[in-house]
């Protein structure tokens, strides 16, 4: 098992390196860029020459690449063209924000979705099942950003139940120890801050969680149905075990396997939804970074770093899912 993990992680290094090379050359071949962005309407040949010299763009691409690699191997991911902060710091701040949001959304989906899917399967064909069926499809069909705007408009503008955006109320003086604001509040013995962070988390979390909720419900339902059809359940029923015992012991345990796999994959798709949700709610996490870096500022150092981080995260998630799979079902052998 350890060998598999180590091997997988080692395979990661050349992948990331190759990715960074690709990204470097690709991004530097695109039109526009930092010089244009910095000068705007006030560009003059002199200023353009100054910035070109200052950013090293007058040197051959190989020299620039060499410097880039030099920085990369020392762990220096560069500086954001948008804010002037070190990219590592920018990512370090954005990462916990997205994790908090994703965890909340996933938690919401799991807590609500699995029981709902189970109930729908148990009451197969009846009203609840029909409603769940349609409801989950609608949930997947509604574009995330539209849902976000809709919820924002109703719940924050017309009814002021929730704050429209951000992770904390303005002017709240807090120390961000871990970057997970709910946790930070508790660490600082400031429960008010925790509650404030939680209050800000609810609407974006729900918005992001709708699709995983729908998917999880459907998968749970399908998986439970599968298991219900299996031979051994009928055998157990024939043996005369009490219904509730059957339910607890066999159905859920066996139905959970595909659910677990899906949860892993879902977490990946959550990050996609996070890009849209974070933009709508001005969340300041990786999703916001991605959408801000693309539109307008073209913050290439940050974009580069995020893409590499995404690759890393997905490999790790894949690995974790495979490991869980192997743990749950001993028949599975890991490649």
């Amino acid at each position: 098992m350890i060998r598999v993990i180590v091997r997988r992680l080692l395979q990661l290094v050349p992948t990331l390196f190759g990715l960074s090379v690709l990204l470097f050359f690709w991004l530097h071949s695109l039109p526009g860029g930092p010089v244009e962005a910095m000068l705007g309407e006030r560009a003059t040949p002199a200023k353009r020459a100054l910035l070109t010299r200052a950013l090293g763009y007058d040197q051959p691409i190989w020299v620039q690449y060499g410097k880039f690699v030099q920085r990369l191997v020392t762990g220096d991911l560069g500086v954001s063209t948008r804010t002037g902060d070190r990219v590592v710091d920018v990512l370090g701040r954005a990462f916990p924000a997205t994790v908090e949001l994703t965890a909340f959304a996933m938690g919401f989906a799991v807590v609500l979705g699995i029981p709902l899917g189970y109930l729908a399967a148990r009451h197969r064909g009846r009203l609840l099942d029909q409603l769940v069926g349609v409801g989950t499809l609608v949930g997947v069909a509604v574009p995330v950003f539209f849902l976000g705007y809709l919820l924002k408009d109703t719940l924050t503008q017309r009814l002021h139940w929730f704050p429209p955006s951000g992770r904390l109320s303005t002017g709240l003086d807090t120390i961000h120890a871990t970057g997970f604001f709910v946790l930070d509040g508790l660490l600082n013995a400031d429960p008010g801050a925790s509650v404030d962070a939680l209050w800000h988390l609810i609407l974006p979390g729900l918005t992001l969680g709708v699709i995983p909720l729908a998917v999880l419900t459907r998968i749970t339902r399908a998986s439970v149905l599968d298991v219900l059809n299996e031979e051994y359940i009928r055998t157990a029923e024939a043996k005369g075990l009490r219904n509730s015992t059957i339910r607890r012991r066999h159905i859920l345990r066996n139905a959970l396997l595909p659910v677990v796999t899906s949860t892993g994959l879902l977490t990946g798709s959550l990050l996609a939804g996070a890009v849209l949700t974070e933009k709508v709610y001005n969340w300041g996490g990786l999703g916001s970074l991605i959408s801000d870096s693309i539109t307008g500022s073209r913050d290439y150092p940050v974009l580069q770093a995020i893409i590499m981080l995404a690759a890393l995260v997905f490999v790790v998630i894949n690995l974790v899912v495979d490991l869980c799979y192997a743990v749950i079902d001993p028949r599975v052998r890991l490649p």
Partner: protein, 297 residues
Amino acid sequence: MSRWRAALRRLSGNPSAVVGAVIVGGFLLVALFAGVLAPHSPYREYLISEVRLGESQIPGPRSGFPLGADERGRDLLSRLIYGSRQTLFVGVVATLIGLVAGVALGAVAAGGRSGSAGRAGPRGWVDVVVMRIVDVALSLPGLLLAISLAALVGHASQWTVIGAVAATNVPVFARLLRGCALAQLEREHVLAARALGVKQRWIVLRHVLPHALSPVLAQATLTLATAILDAAALSFLGLGDPDPARAEWGLMLGDGQRFFEIRPELAYYPALAIIVVALGFMLLGEAMREAIDPRNR
């Protein structure tokens, strides 16, 4: 062919399948007959003289223009109707490209994997390589891949969106086809054909593809739904076609959100259209998948 008839029977008995089919059918009809159904041209700025953005004024519903106009004075109803065409175009092309490429890829992988009598063929490594790439691509959520691809291309256009969405669908179809192909290739009559020396290509065409058709079709229906949604998301992020005159629902939704306060209909109607059509394709696709797969009955 009786399999088809049986599947169809199952489908027609399923209420959600019927609803889905009605929606999809309606959508296709509207797209086909947009020219006849739409009261006006979707591009002419009929009511431009009444648009006063500075005074938050966008013309509302009136005779001749049942849904009112958008921020350029164009007829909203006509744009919605013609929008079905553009939206269908984007969805269909993206799905089609993904399908063709994915099916080809999956067939190549399966062909490489199975040699004679079930043992790994001489080109088994092809299968391993292709499926590894497919696995990685599948682990990346479609939308994120689409966003990355669209962002990395210098400038946005409709084809950027189509290309990015298509690229995210290729692995799905590849894996699907490979699964079907492998299952078929192990069948008795196929093994017999191979033992008789029939060429691999011929086998694939006559035996594999027809059986793969139904699951691929079901998947394609579902993919169409997500293609439409992904395209709308890309437009929202500013990665879509920046030509503002084009009548396409995703574009109209993204644009319409700017005026949410003065004329929310500009966002609501395209959103509703997208939701209903995506729903329709999903209902149909899910039902098709269930009808084909004997296990779930």
